[in-house]
């Protein structure tokens, strides 16, 4: 038998599926692992999103950022650049608060993590 023929025959022999008795239960075990992994991922995404959202929202509300931003923008509505100049100090003010900075960073980090997961999932879906 020629070398190439033998190699092809060997590949065919390797390709024959062996008869393994617990094939069905093996597939079920893999399926369960997939389901567990998916449930854990969903829980992680949800938790991170909720925690990040709650902390972020509470920080925004407590810092009166909305009212200050609204006031700043209404005062400088004519010129966009002046609005930016008005809002920038507000953001600095927010981050300069000693008690809230770490919390804001934690919230931002968690929100970014959640966003990353969501983006990954969306890319996979696409």
């Amino acid at each position: 038998m020629a070398e190439v023929e033998f190699e092809r025959a060997l590949e065919r022999m390797f390709a024959r599926t062996p008869d393994i008795s617990d094939a069905a239960s093996f597939a079920d075990r893999v399926q369960r692992r997939l389901d567990r992994g998916w449930a854990a991922r969903r829980l992680l995404i949800g938790s991170a999103g909720v925690i990040g959202g709650v902390i972020g929202a509470s920080q925004l509300i407590m810092s009166n950022l909305f009212s200050r931003a609204e006031a700043a923008s209404s005062e400088s509505a004519r010129v966009l650049t002046s609005s930016v100049r008005q809002i920038a100090p507000q953001a600095d003010w927010l981050f300069s608060r000693p008690a809230g900075v770490e919390t804001v960073w934690v919230a931002a980090g968690l929100a970014l993590l959640a966003l990353g997961f969501v983006l990954t999932r969306i890319i996979e879906e696409i």
């Binding site: 190699e7 093996f26 597939a27 996979e124």
Partner: protein
């Protein structure tokens, strides 16, 4: 999963199932596992993994395949793609366990003698593989079972290319000697038919 759903999935081609799995359909991927689980486990066993090791590695390989299913473009067979993932995972595990160097060392212990088949008798691949040293069996399984090129096998095994080629050559010679009676009988039947 309902019976109708299972029936629907079982009628789909591997590529269609992979597309569904890439969209997050775990049931579709489960159907792929049902179809190809035994083939992957069989390959791992032929590479020298024990039944339980092969089971663990195959599970990990399928999970890993699901995670990266979007990389499967359907250009080759799904089974071949998963087998490569599984074979590489097996190599990594063996390297971690430091078994690989022993297995692939030149002049490794000769295998236990295997009874030669009766003249004209058939010997199946698994029996014939027992005549090979561990290194030869590993290299032959990687190249002919997992579809790796000699270069890819050398990389996966962290061995020089020449060593892999030598293992494959010696392994093929031994397999040819063992499997030839079957091949000849097959050829003979074809001629007679």
């Amino acid at each position: 999963m309902s019976r109708a759903e299972r029936h629907r999935l079982s009628s789909l081609h591997d590529v269609e199932l992979a597309t569904l799995a890439a969209a997050g359909d775990r049931q579709a991927f489960g159907e792929l596992v049902r179809r190809h689980g035994s083939a992957v486990r069989g390959l791992l066993r032929r590479m020298g993994a024990s039944a339980s090791e092969a089971d663990d590695l195959a599970q990990d390989a399928f999970i890993s395949a699901f995670e990266s299913i979007s990389e499967f473009r359907g250009e080759g067979a799904f089974a071949a793609w998963v087998k490569k993932i599984a074979a590489r995972a097996c190599m990594r595990r063996m390297q971690r366990a430091k078994r690989l160097r022993d297995l692939t060392a030149a002049g490794a212990d000769d295998p236990a003698p295997v009874a030669h088949p009766d003249p004209g008798g058939r010997m199946d691949l698994d029996e014939a593989l027992k005549a090979l040293t561990d290194g030869e069996r590993l290299c032959v399984s990687l190249c002919y079972g997992a579809g790796l090129s000699h270069g890819e096998a050398a990389e996966a095994l962290n061995l020089p290319l020449g060593t892999v080629k030598s293992h494959v050559k010696r392994g093929l010679d031994k397999l040819r000697a063992r499997l030839a009676p079957e091949d000849q009988s097959v050829e003979g039947r074809r001629d007679n038919g």
